[in-house]
Amino acid sequence: VTALYADRLAHAVGAQHVADDGARVVVRPGAPAEIADVVRIAAELGAVVGVGVASGIALDLSRMCNVLHLDETSLLVSAQAGIPVEKLEAQLGDRGLTLGPLPPSSRARTLGALLAAPRPSEASPRVGRFVAACAGIAAILPDGIELTTRVAPRKATGPDLMHAVLGARGTLGLITSATVRVQRRQEARLDAAWKLPSLAAALATARALLVRGGRPLDLAVSGAGVLSLSVDGPAPLCDAERGLADELAHAAGGQPVPHAPLPRVPPSLTAPFERALPIETLESQVLAPALLGEALRVVGWHVAGAALVDIGRAAAGPPPPSPLVQLLKRRLDPDHRFPAWPGETSETGARA
């Protein structure tokens, strides 16, 4: 970190938006073009650049926190990457819209963080992983190229290229804005719960409900075998879905109990864990006594592909990058301009 950096960066984004904290220069760009400038400057100087990196040039996207477009006809919102979920939800809420059920621990995170470094707890049974709600992104590649993917409900025009950037923790591309699908708050909401003989029985019931076509708002099981269900939508459909769950629970030896929100896995436990387990694996693992007593959110498997369960102690740390990610990294970022996997991207930085 040199004075030269500071000068050039000040020219790119304005002096008042550059700060040297000793270990790194923190830059607060106000537009994608400014980020592209910063990326180019970083390249010339051989510095790593990324959101919240611990050394080199740390991007703070707090100025890029605006809703760009709300399309209420298509239920899509485009917003800058630095917008906090809390702020976005507040603006959507004014219009009777929502991103869907996100845990309280994610409300201070930014949209960019949700898409670049997703957490299992941000998945929901209806949408799957949060990245499945993403319809398009604008991003900058390590060589400074700015790209925008075309927004359409589905495409058959080759690989879905935004997936090289989504979930890649800023190692392959830097998200500057995104278009995500939002949901309209529904007329009716209904909560119900059952006590089943065992955790395994509760899990099997939850799975059967999803396989049979249930699309609940939220679904959770506790170590004590309580299955907790929230549904919303047209009233007859809510009733039918509860009816189906009731039938499945009774068949598995369950009884209705008063609904109460199940305690979530403490954020301190979920935060560092990235690995979601397929339910097939989980069923054997949850029977291990060490895991009993945790509340598990079953977030389904049919929408986003893999079976996901938010289970705090399931795995330690993010999985190592696959060989294919490493190959892509070498090709897209030969000079290591963006952080290396799993990234110098700290959670504090991503939140900034």
């Binding site: 359409a152 058959a156 039918a240």
Partner: protein, 519 residues
């Protein structure tokens, strides 16, 4: 060794390694030089069946064999075209640079089915209806019903991001995939998990053989529906029908089938009712209509009327203008078919909620008849189109998609662009909460094969350019191949850099399906 000699040596080597499973015979080479791209069918009608035959066809039986074949081909810079059943309509499997066609149809095992978890692991080369039959025997369904289901493979679906007719409920193939076995262009084998961060599986699905070969996948399967509730509805105009579909989807309902036929499409369906003795249903009507284009076809019109329509196809703007002026004011308006299925309790409740919603949106209930007819005849059209081409006429479909706010703009823009060149009609299907696809069918005729080909190319150029101007995607589920390759840079913009990077790292020798997809 020269490249040509190296290629011959490779084919000999493969012949020794896989006796009886490598062919260089002329009939096989001709058979594997085509797919169902109408551009090729026009050429075929012009007497050119196989402009680019492969040097050889090889039939591997395992992922290991596929990997070995790819390694050997990479060593000798021999192109590879992965092949399923050849039903693609975009020229995605044409061996334009020769080399090997790797036909996966001998890899057709259903490896594992887990009814409790709702998943099945299947090899790429199984034919669609064979897979569905295997699942049905166990009380399950994939819910994937492209009209090509009898002549397309599981692997082909994944390679091209296929959609079935009931995708609104069951999802497109990329929504069903959980795990993929993939041999890249270097012969390395990858196991890709869906939902990983980043989700590399979504970078391989849809790559149409340009990055490697998908040999196996695990997908979501469902219990067979306990109940089906399919009904027809009538809406005065396309716009009202679209609005009704949007409301259904945004209320959280997931119909299995949503198909809204525009005025012309609907008009042809109504005409069908008068000929109850023949096959009925919207698609069959199209087939009947198309048969009118063919001299000697089984059309219901007198010969002179047939000739008149044939002549009108040379000046399609007159027909289109007449249709769009007159049809909205005739009896019926637009036909919408909405079907629910699945768990008895859920499907019943969804159908009930949908009825309320559709009536509120101004729809007129036509009862179960139209829904039943559609279910019965939904595969009819794909197999009966070829005879149209024999007479110098051609027919094709263009499936574009966009968000709801731009959907009618897309409909008008493509119609307006194509109308001067072809007779065009459309239906809206594959609906989502955020948008919908439009399936245009167009038909025209040229003065001989060369003129037909020119007109055909021009229709695609103006149609897709119009779609791109609106901001729509140029393909919802047919894929890209050679047909849409020139439009890829505009579709993806700077994001093509990512595709090029994928190509460089996974297929450094450039042997995988070369020349397609705009790479």
């Amino acid at each position: 060794m020269s490249p040509v000699a190296a290629r011959s040596a490779l084919i000999e080597e493969l012949g020794r390694a896989y006796p009886g499973r490598v062919s260089t015979t002329p009939p096989d080479r001709v058979a594997y030089a085509r797919d169902l791209w109408p551009r090729g069918l026009i050429a075929l009608a012009g007497g050119n069946p196989a402009p680019h035959p492969p040097d050889a066809i090889v039939w591997p039986t395992s992922t290991e064999e596929v990997a070995a074949i790819v390694r050997a081909a990479a060593r000798t810079a021999t192109p590879i075209v992965p092949f399923g059943a050849g039903s693609g309509v975009c020229g995605g499997t044409l061996p334009i640079k020769g080399g090997l066609v790797v036909d996966l149809k001998r890899m057709r095992d259903v490896v594992a089915i887990d009814a409790g978890a709702g998943s099945a692991t299947v090899e790429a080369g199984i034919l669609g209806d064979h897979l569905e039959h295997e699942l049905n025997r166990r009380g399950l369904t994939l819910g994937h019903f492209p009209s090509s289901i009898m002549c397309s493979t599981f692997g082909g679906w994944l390679a091209a991001r296929s959609a079935g007719q009931l995708s609104t409920r069951y999802g497109k193939i990329e929504d069903m995939a959980r795990r993929l076995t993939f041999v890249d262009g270097r012969g390395d084998v990858h196991q890709l998990e869906g939902g990983a961060s980043p989700d590399l599986m979504q970078l391989v699905i849809g790559s149409e053989g340009t990055l490697g070969i998908i040999t196996r996948a695990t997908v979501t399967v469902r219990p067979l529906p306990e109940l089906r509730r399919y009904r027809g509805w009538s809406f005065p105009r396309v716009a009202a029908g679209c609005e009704a579909i949007r409301r259904l989807l945004q209320r959280g309902l997931r119909p299995a089938c949503v198909r809204l036929y525009d005025e012309l499409d609907s008009f042809l369906h109504r005409g069908e009712k008068d000929h109850a003795a023949t096959a009925s249903g919207p698609e069959a009507t199209l087939e009947q209509y198309l048969s009118m284009l063919t001299p000697g076809g089984k059309g219901v019109l007198d010969d002179w009327k047939r000739r008149a329509i044939g002549a009108a196809l040379m000046r399609p703007e007159l027909v289109n203008r007449l249709a769009s002026t007159v049809l909205p004011y005739t009896q019926g308006g637009c036909l919408l078919i909405v079907g629910f299925e699945g768990d008895r309790r859920l499907a019943e409740a969804e159908a009930q909620a949908a009825t309320v919603e559709l009536e509120r949106a101004g729809g007129r209930d036509l009862g179960e008849g139209p829904g039943r007819r559609w279910l019965e005849h939904r595969y009819a059209v794909s197999f009966r189109m070829s005879k149209v081409f024999d007479a110098g006429a051609f027919v094709d479909t263009m499936e574009v998609a966009t968000t709801w706010d731009k959907l009618l703009e897309l409909y008008r823009a493509v119609r307006q662009a194509v109308s001067p060149l072809a007779f065009i009609m459309a239906h809206f299907s594959h609906a989502y909460a955020d948008g919908c696809s439009i399936y245009f069918t167009f038909a025209a005729r040229g003065n001989g094969p060369a003129d037909a080909a020119r007109r055909y190319d021009e229709i695609w150029r103006v149609g897709l350019s119009a779609a791109a101007r609106v901001g729509a995607t140029i393909s919802h589920h047919h894929g890209v191949g050679l047909s849409k390759a020139p439009f890829m840079p505009e579709e993806h913009g700077q994001a093509m850099a990512i595709y090029h990077a994928l190509k460089d790292v996974l297929d450094p020798a450039g042997i995988m399906n070369p020349g397609t997809m705009g790479l």
